[in-house]
Symmetry: C2
Subunit: 342 residues, 2 copies
DNA sequence: GTGAAAGCGCTAACAG
DNA sequence: CTGTTAGCGCTTTCAC
């Protein structure tokens, strides 16, 4: 597995390695003739500079690390596509890491990214993370970090998120307008900022419309359909069951959806349902699921842009930018009780 | 962003870098006292060896590269989880790449993996790939490769796949046993081995049961629900529409599912449907989708094990192992016309 | 038991 | 214009 090095070319052409190096980078101060010979041979030999050597030399890698909880979650997959879109165009390669919602794993990932001299980090934190020192450590050493979606407020750096409050508000308001009287909320893990903000939107909408906030209509579930299914069955067998549900994520909503069907209830007649994220699968369900759309691709793009800005202007510790993107309620059959005439 | 190096430790302790290096690797021929002092200081300073330097020195990285078409596809996400499971345990880090079903992108990914001195490659090829020279090149140079799921027969190396023929056979046989008379097949991209094999299973089952193979009941679709939805609408509006569909993947089946619902047809009464892969979402659909389960996690584990074996025993060009895993038909409501009493 | 020196592949002063 | 030297961080002969 011998690879061609700059040395091989130098020997072959009776030049020094530095001359070859310069010719390859197209330095102006190189004989046109020499340059041509070098380029020609390099191409013929299929020479590729060893990125590892470059990396050792420059302490850079042209890689940016991305940590997401799960790549299997289409939301994150789309965000990553957005990240790749701008990173690729700027000459960066994206290296994907999964925390699997596990704190220990996240710490390891951060270490790997930092030690391997990645140029920066994009991260959406794991649900189990409550201690942020692993991020703080590298942030203090000047390592560029941008948080997206599940951001960490304790660290003063750029971030990108959506207006979760507004999303929660719009979803709940919609259910009210559809005539729902008892609107439940299945929230995500409590210590996640996005969970809390979506809940706050839910609460604010209820209050604004003069509805009571009933404790037993608010339950929390992990971000998985199977878990949500189980959790929500409790809600459905209550003596006074809800006639509307706002789920804090589509994965949770998918579980609710299945539970409602399994319980033999009609959607939206008996229970109206709204999710959050508008994953591609939402429109494919039966009945199709209403959901608060997040601009996932755009989120990825924005996060990558901010990170690259940070990488290219080190030290410049100006004010941190917190880009908040807008959500959009996609109304589909799962919540459409009143025919909308707009 | 200054990092502690072996040199810092040496200076501090008035030792040479080589001594420190040896102490750190716990070499036997080092004074117990010295070793203790080095270890102690290294720990106090939070010393981390620079992996890039190691990599330059050894031409290894302890990273293995994985190329999948799309991480958003839960099947691949689960395979990756399986890969990570064994890789992690063996001290390897998994670096994930996406080809996005694009040949050019796949070539770039392969180059990156090879140039960055990853220790090996696990790959499921893109649908648009018809030329395999990028794989052949590095394979000839002794670079370890293992194919999984979408394998490449032209290259003599280990691979892991499922018995696609058997899966297609079982799915079709099941539909026949459910009383379906006109069974359609929505296949994946034609040049993909797995598509062809699943189709062959379908054909064989029809023949074995004395059914005709009707050309207009076999159509091909890309692996995406939206595309499949569109494609399958043609089938449903045929004068003599099918009463059973075997879809070559769950993503295709999800599109079929939505199309059938949208057409106002009953499932399984009017049309019975079976998918392939048994993604987690399958059981959550309404009605729940029957599907041929593939051991995705196991596939990842097996592929990783084979690759690591290849990495650790280079040169040992014994016979290539082609591990074929078994499928299992999961019967759910979407295809259950006859109550099964087993 | 420990140090000096060389080298992995490449670039960047520093000389000519 | 081109060659020499040094060094990125680390391991590994080869000496002592």
């Amino acid at each position: 597995m011998k690879n061609i090095t700059i040395k091989d070319i130098a020997r072959e052409l009776n030049l020094s390695t530095s001359t070859v190096s310069r010719a390859l980078r197209d330095s102006t101060e190189i004989g046109a003739e020499t340059k041509k010979r070098v380029l020609e041979l390099a191409h013929r030999l299929d020479y590729n500079p060893n990125p590892v050597a470059l990396s050792l030399l420059s302490s850079q890698s042209n890689d940016i690390g991305v940590i997401v909880p799960e790549i299997a979650n289409p939301f994150f997959a789309i965000v990553i596509a957005g990240i790749e879109d701008v990173a690729f165009a700027q000459g960066y390669h994206v290296v994907i890491y999964q925390s699997h919602e596990d704190y220990e794993r996240e710490v390891l990932n951060v270490k790997h990214i930092y030690n391997r001299r990645k140029d920066g980090l994009l991260v959406s934190v794991a649900t189990t993370t409550t201690d942020y020192t692993h991020f703080k450590n590298i942030h203090e050493r000047g390592f560029p970090i941008v948080f997206f979606d599940r951001i960490c407020e304790e660290i003063d750096t750029h971030s990108v998120s959506v207006d979760d409050f507004e999303g929660g508000y719009k979803a709940t308001e919609h259910l009210i307008q559809q005539g729902c009287q008892r609107i439940a909320h299945v929230s995500g893990p409590d210590h996640l900022l996005i969970s809390r903000r979506r809940f706050q939107g839910y609460r604010a909408a209820l209050l604004d419309y003069g509805r009571p906030l009933l404790d037993d209509l608010v339950i929390s579930s992990p971000y998985s359909p199977a878990n949500a299914l189980e959790t929500v069955q409790l809600l459905l067998t209550m003596p006074n069951r809800p006639d509307g549900i706002f789920a804090s994520s589509d994965n949770i909503a998918i579980g609710c959806h299945a539970a409602i069907i399994a319980a033999g209830l009609r959607m939206p007649e008996d229970i109206a349902l709204v999710g959050f994220s508008d994953l591609p699968i939402a429109a494919m369900l039966n009945p199709p699921l209403s959901s608060v759309a997040q601009p996932a691709f755009e989120m990825g793009r924005s996060a990558a842009e901010l990170l690259i800005k940070l990488i290219r202007n080190p030290g410049e510790h100006g004010t941190s930018i917190n880009n908040t993107l807008k959500t959009k309620l996609m109304v589909r059959k799962s919540s459409m009780r009143v025919s909308e005439s707009n």
